[in-house]
Symmetry: C2
Subunit: 384 residues, 2 copies
Amino acid sequence: MSFEFRVLHKQGKARSGLLATPHGDVATPLFMPVGTQATVKGLSNRELVEIGSQIVLANTYHLLLRPGPGRIERLGGLHGFTGYQGPWLTDSGGFQVMSLGHRRVISEEGVEFSNHLNGDRTLLTPEKSIEVQQELGADIIMAFDECPPYPAERGYLENSLERTLRWLERSLAAKTRSDQALFGIAQGGVELDLRRRSTVETIKFDLPGYAIGGLAVGEPKEKMVPVVDLSTDLLPEDRPRYLMGVGHPEDLVAGVALGVDMFDCVYPTRTGRFGYALVDRGRLNLSSARYKDNPEQIDASCDCYACQNHSRAYITHLVRAGEMLGLRLLSLHNIRYLHRLMERARAAIASGRYGDFAREFAARRWPSGTPEWFSDALERSGMW
Amino acid sequence: MSFEFRVLHKQGKARSGLLATPHGDVATPLFMPVGTQATVKGLSNRELVEIGSQIVLANTYHLLLRPGPGRIERLGGLHGFTGYQGPWLTDSGGFQVMSLGHRRVISEEGVEFSNHLNGDRTLLTPEKSIEVQQELGADIIMAFDECPPYPAERGYLENSLERTLRWLERSLAAKTRSDQALFGIAQGGVELDLRRRSTVETIKFDLPGYAIGGLAVGEPKEKMVPVVDLSTDLLPEDRPRYLMGVGHPEDLVAGVALGVDMFDCVYPTRTGRFGYALVDRGRLNLSSARYKDNPEQIDASCDCYACQNHSRAYITHLVRAGEMLGLRLLSLHNIRYLHRLMERARAAIASGRYGDFAREFAARRWPSGTPEWFSDALERSGMW
């Protein structure tokens, strides 16, 4: 099996590593752009490679509905269908069923829902999710889980995490392809004892990687940090840790400090489509009239095509005129921004100065004072 | 002045040539992609260069309204503002005022209209059009003309062409920049005597280039061919001839046969956004379910990024899912298709086999028989 993870450098709880997959090695910590419908919105494969994307996520829920996993399989799986030959990861559909499906009925069997495209009823089960993910053919696939909303009652969380464990067992039993790595997902909301139970039980399956699920669903960051800290304390050192759905720059810097290796989020592309450009001090609203005459690039330190070739004034014009190129350039820049952030993080860990890196990041991001949750994350990691 | 045109090869009425502009030489015959709002919809500058775009058109009407010509001038003109450093051409706004403006009042002074963005009243005159085009800074600028609708009464056409001649005189008088070439535009609808009068009078101004205006506005192709034929008979051999707003592949092949050097049209990008891909036999509707499982590329003979990297099935998925990348890839391919068509035309003229080229094109385009208007164009050119 061509799936292997090695930690190369450690500092405090933070680590950098190398993850080998059937479609190539990737350096961690890393950010995965989201290709919901088998395309990262607005970007070409060539651009993904150029900006340093290492692994791309696709959504099982969306591709199940359209164009259908059988079709993608016949056309060579995600790699052949899209032409993107690097590693792919597919989620299980569990999260999207809850966020996009209507009239959901959750049972021990799975989740029945009316899809958001034509309202047809579909039953997604652990077996079905794995079947679909095997047809899609990603390098990393995810166990079918139930992602509870925030806030949720303890009783709900408890039932949900126990069911997620049973679904993990069924996911594993359904898996037949040996060239895909299945990651388990720990749940438990922000209740630390439930999170501990879920994580400890998930680890028993001795999987090639583990995800911290159910976060970034509306809980305050003060509650997220202790959960991530506990999770990475419990998770084995020699397996990659994936914090699902997290993609704000400050969350990445804090997550890496706490020992997370992988992140994904639609944030960079979505905020780009709303006209925002990510920079160290936050984001620039390029749909604002204030940039109409600004000849500077988005970020003088950025090496992306948008920053190397265009001014804020031009991108502002494109955004205000509703031109596709504006959204393209902003999505490109924003993903490149997160990739550069992770490149800087990897270099900082390798040279033993991640604490400085995180403090410098915080000083630029919050000139008037670092929020407590961020300092807390660094303290827990031994680097504040 | 760095503006010069040389005819390199001739065959029948068709010719290939080289047009020198302050921002580089371009080989004719050529197709100009349209960057209405200072961006060719969906494409980056890098892509434009890669697919062989030689000169890009921008619309004075749109840029006058947003972001404003003064702003573009301060940011380095179209070249600096957009970062596209090749030659640009701007139209005069005359056509858009008629097609997009509301409550138009045409007078000897100019055209007053309510713009399509916020309804503000604006007066566009020859002087204003030239002032704006000088601020935009394109290499080629166009005289302010009145483009009559089709059909139009003879009286209307006559008044309109006379006024267009007076506006040409005022356009020239208003022009102060010596690094821009001003082209005049002949009108006269499809009335051959009026077209002759307009062309003969326009030529008297001894301009660096001439446009055939007022075509492709709804008239049948049978009526377009004699007008183009007459126009190129009258226009001087040593000046470029620009057939405005024409961009269907078959119209380009016929136009080149009749001695046209330049074309522009939104057709390749617009039809791309509607899901169509241009191929020699017409166009493929990639939003159609019939291509869902088709692993072939759009066009096996095409060297564009879309054809080199993606299947019809994938592009069909993108189009049906409303993904930006689908529109990008189709726009890219369609413009590349027209550029390749003109490259093939140039090579055919250079080797004295344009007639064969045009007949082969017709055989692929219309397997069941070439339409009369197309044969008529080739006959008039001496190549059928």
